[in-house]
Amino acid sequence: MAADVVKVVDQGMEITTDRLLDSPNGNQPQWIDWGTGTTPAADADTVLETPKADEARTVGVMTQETTTVTDDTLQVVGTITCSGSGAAITEAGLFTHLTSTAGFLFLRATFDAINVLVGNSIEFTFKIKYDQG
Protein backbone atom coordinates (compact mmCIF):
# COMPACT_ATOMS: atom_id res chain seq x y z
CA MET A 1 0.00 0.00 0.00
CA ALA A 2 1.45 3.32 -1.05
CA ALA A 3 1.21 6.37 1.16
CA ASP A 4 -1.42 8.85 0.04
CA VAL A 5 0.71 11.92 -0.61
CA VAL A 6 0.80 14.59 -3.29
CA LYS A 7 3.53 17.21 -3.57
CA VAL A 8 4.25 20.14 -5.80
CA VAL A 9 7.94 19.27 -5.77
CA ASP A 10 10.96 21.60 -5.67
CA GLN A 11 11.16 21.63 -9.47
CA GLY A 12 7.48 22.55 -9.46
CA MET A 13 8.30 25.76 -7.59
CA GLU A 14 10.87 26.56 -10.27
CA ILE A 15 8.33 25.86 -13.01
CA THR A 16 5.78 28.11 -11.28
CA THR A 17 8.04 31.14 -11.09
CA ASP A 18 9.42 30.52 -14.57
CA ARG A 19 5.95 30.44 -16.10
CA LEU A 20 5.23 33.91 -14.68
CA LEU A 21 8.04 35.42 -16.73
CA ASP A 22 7.29 37.29 -19.92
CA SER A 23 9.23 34.65 -21.85
CA PRO A 24 9.29 31.45 -19.83
CA ASN A 25 12.30 29.18 -20.29
CA GLY A 26 10.38 25.96 -19.80
CA ASN A 27 7.17 24.31 -20.94
CA GLN A 28 3.81 23.91 -19.25
CA PRO A 29 3.56 20.94 -16.86
CA GLN A 30 0.86 19.24 -18.91
CA TRP A 31 2.29 15.77 -19.49
CA ILE A 32 0.91 12.98 -17.31
CA ASP A 33 2.80 9.82 -16.43
CA TRP A 34 2.02 6.89 -14.15
CA GLY A 35 4.03 4.20 -12.41
CA THR A 36 4.28 1.54 -9.76
CA GLY A 37 6.64 3.14 -7.23
CA THR A 38 5.46 3.22 -3.63
CA THR A 39 7.97 5.52 -1.90
CA PRO A 40 5.90 8.49 -0.73
CA ALA A 41 6.14 11.66 -2.82
CA ALA A 42 8.78 14.04 -1.47
CA ASP A 43 9.80 17.63 -2.15
CA ALA A 44 13.09 16.69 -3.83
CA ASP A 45 11.59 14.20 -6.31
CA THR A 46 12.55 14.83 -9.93
CA VAL A 47 11.11 11.69 -11.54
CA LEU A 48 8.58 8.97 -10.82
CA GLU A 49 10.12 6.14 -8.80
CA THR A 50 9.10 3.36 -11.21
CA PRO A 51 7.50 4.75 -14.36
CA LYS A 52 5.42 2.18 -16.26
CA ALA A 53 7.41 1.96 -19.46
CA ASP A 54 4.69 0.37 -21.60
CA GLU A 55 2.81 3.63 -22.12
CA ALA A 56 3.96 7.07 -23.19
CA ARG A 57 3.09 10.17 -21.21
CA THR A 58 -0.19 11.72 -22.31
CA VAL A 59 -1.02 15.39 -22.61
CA GLY A 60 -3.57 16.75 -20.20
CA VAL A 61 -6.03 19.59 -20.63
CA MET A 62 -5.07 22.58 -18.48
CA THR A 63 -7.67 25.02 -17.20
CA GLN A 64 -8.09 27.63 -14.49
CA GLU A 65 -10.75 26.71 -11.97
CA THR A 66 -12.26 28.36 -8.93
CA THR A 67 -12.04 26.62 -5.56
CA THR A 68 -12.15 29.49 -3.06
CA VAL A 69 -11.46 32.68 -4.99
CA THR A 70 -11.74 33.21 -8.73
CA ASP A 71 -9.26 31.18 -10.77
CA ASP A 72 -7.17 30.15 -7.75
CA THR A 73 -6.77 26.59 -9.01
CA LEU A 74 -4.85 25.06 -11.90
CA GLN A 75 -6.48 21.87 -13.14
CA VAL A 76 -4.95 19.26 -15.43
CA VAL A 77 -7.13 16.41 -16.67
CA GLY A 78 -5.81 13.55 -18.76
CA THR A 79 -6.15 9.85 -19.40
CA ILE A 80 -3.58 7.10 -19.77
CA THR A 81 -4.61 3.78 -21.30
CA CYS A 82 -2.93 0.55 -20.26
CA SER A 83 -1.54 -1.03 -23.41
CA GLY A 84 1.43 -3.16 -22.42
CA SER A 85 0.56 -5.29 -19.42
CA GLY A 86 -1.73 -4.99 -16.45
CA ALA A 87 -0.34 -3.33 -13.34
CA ALA A 88 -1.09 -1.90 -9.93
CA ILE A 89 -0.66 1.84 -10.43
CA THR A 90 0.55 3.59 -7.28
CA GLU A 91 2.07 6.87 -8.48
CA ALA A 92 1.42 9.61 -11.01
CA GLY A 93 3.12 12.83 -11.98
CA LEU A 94 2.93 15.96 -14.09
CA PHE A 95 5.90 16.76 -16.33
CA THR A 96 6.90 19.55 -18.69
CA HIS A 97 7.81 17.22 -21.56
CA LEU A 98 6.63 14.12 -23.35
CA THR A 99 9.95 12.37 -23.04
CA SER A 100 11.63 11.40 -19.80
CA THR A 101 15.04 12.56 -21.01
CA ALA A 102 14.00 16.21 -21.01
CA GLY A 103 12.08 18.58 -18.82
CA PHE A 104 11.06 18.69 -15.21
CA LEU A 105 8.68 17.17 -12.72
CA PHE A 106 6.02 19.57 -11.41
CA LEU A 107 4.01 17.32 -9.12
CA ARG A 108 4.17 13.74 -7.88
CA ALA A 109 1.44 11.76 -6.11
CA THR A 110 1.47 8.34 -4.48
CA PHE A 111 -1.70 6.48 -3.55
CA ASP A 112 -3.36 3.13 -2.90
CA ALA A 113 -2.96 0.73 -5.80
CA ILE A 114 -5.35 1.08 -8.72
CA ASN A 115 -5.37 -2.17 -10.65
CA VAL A 116 -5.57 -1.77 -14.41
CA LEU A 117 -5.85 -4.40 -17.12
CA VAL A 118 -4.84 -3.98 -20.75
CA GLY A 119 -7.47 -1.73 -22.31
CA ASN A 120 -8.40 -0.04 -19.04
CA SER A 121 -7.63 3.64 -18.56
CA ILE A 122 -7.27 5.99 -15.65
CA GLU A 123 -8.53 9.52 -16.03
CA PHE A 124 -6.52 11.66 -13.62
CA THR A 125 -7.62 15.08 -12.40
CA PHE A 126 -4.84 17.11 -10.82
CA LYS A 127 -5.88 20.24 -8.94
CA ILE A 128 -3.30 22.70 -7.64
CA LYS A 129 -4.89 25.38 -5.52
CA TYR A 130 -2.94 28.47 -4.51
CA ASP A 131 -3.51 30.65 -1.49
CA GLN A 132 -1.57 33.32 0.33
CA GLY A 133 0.33 30.81 2.45
Partner: protein, 66 residues
Protein backbone atom coordinates in the same frame (compact mmCIF):
# COMPACT_ATOMS: atom_id res chain seq x y z
CA UNK B 1 13.66 47.03 1.06
CA UNK B 2 12.67 43.68 -0.34
CA UNK B 3 9.09 42.51 -0.35
CA UNK B 4 8.51 38.81 -0.13
CA UNK B 5 5.18 37.51 -1.34
CA UNK B 6 3.96 34.05 -0.51
CA UNK B 7 1.78 31.73 -2.50
CA UNK B 8 1.31 28.24 -1.18
CA UNK B 9 0.15 25.50 -3.54
CA UNK B 10 -1.96 22.61 -2.28
CA UNK B 11 -2.64 19.79 -4.70
CA UNK B 12 -5.14 16.98 -4.87
CA UNK B 13 -5.41 14.13 -7.35
CA UNK B 14 -8.67 12.41 -8.31
CA UNK B 15 -9.06 9.36 -10.51
CA UNK B 16 -11.65 7.42 -12.49
CA UNK B 17 -11.04 3.99 -13.99
CA UNK B 18 -12.44 3.52 -17.50
CA UNK B 19 -12.98 0.41 -19.60
CA UNK B 20 -11.84 0.05 -23.21
CA UNK B 21 -14.99 1.80 -24.43
CA UNK B 22 -14.45 4.77 -22.17
CA UNK B 23 -17.17 3.82 -19.70
CA UNK B 24 -16.47 4.61 -16.05
CA UNK B 25 -15.83 1.39 -14.14
CA UNK B 26 -15.05 3.07 -10.86
CA UNK B 27 -14.95 6.66 -9.67
CA UNK B 28 -12.30 6.67 -6.98
CA UNK B 29 -12.69 10.31 -6.01
CA UNK B 30 -9.69 11.94 -4.34
CA UNK B 31 -6.82 9.45 -4.21
CA UNK B 32 -4.09 11.77 -2.90
CA UNK B 33 -4.18 14.99 -0.92
CA UNK B 34 -1.61 17.26 0.78
CA UNK B 35 -2.42 15.99 4.25
CA UNK B 36 -2.56 12.37 3.17
CA UNK B 37 -6.22 12.40 4.13
CA UNK B 38 -7.69 10.72 1.07
CA UNK B 39 -9.73 7.74 2.16
CA UNK B 40 -8.58 4.32 1.13
CA UNK B 41 -10.85 2.26 -1.08
CA UNK B 42 -11.68 0.01 1.89
CA UNK B 43 -12.56 2.98 4.09
CA UNK B 44 -14.79 4.47 1.38
CA UNK B 45 -16.66 1.18 1.00
CA UNK B 46 -17.10 0.91 4.76
CA UNK B 47 -18.44 4.46 5.00
CA UNK B 48 -20.79 3.91 2.07
CA UNK B 49 -22.10 0.72 3.67
CA UNK B 50 -22.64 2.49 6.98
CA UNK B 51 -24.46 5.35 5.26
CA UNK B 52 -26.73 2.91 3.46
CA UNK B 53 -27.48 1.13 6.75
CA UNK B 54 -28.38 4.44 8.40
CA UNK B 55 -30.61 5.44 5.47
CA UNK B 56 -32.36 2.08 5.63
CA UNK B 57 -32.79 2.41 9.39
CA UNK B 58 -34.23 5.92 9.00
CA UNK B 59 -36.67 4.80 6.32
CA UNK B 60 -37.79 1.96 8.57
CA UNK B 61 -38.27 4.33 11.51
CA UNK B 62 -40.28 6.72 9.33
CA UNK B 63 -42.37 3.83 8.10
CA UNK B 64 -42.97 2.54 11.63
CA UNK B 65 -43.91 6.01 12.84
CA UNK B 66 -46.43 6.70 10.09
Amino acid sequence: MAFVGRAKPAATVSARVLDKDGNVIEDLGVIASPEGMALSKTARKALRAKLNRLKKQRRQEEHDGS
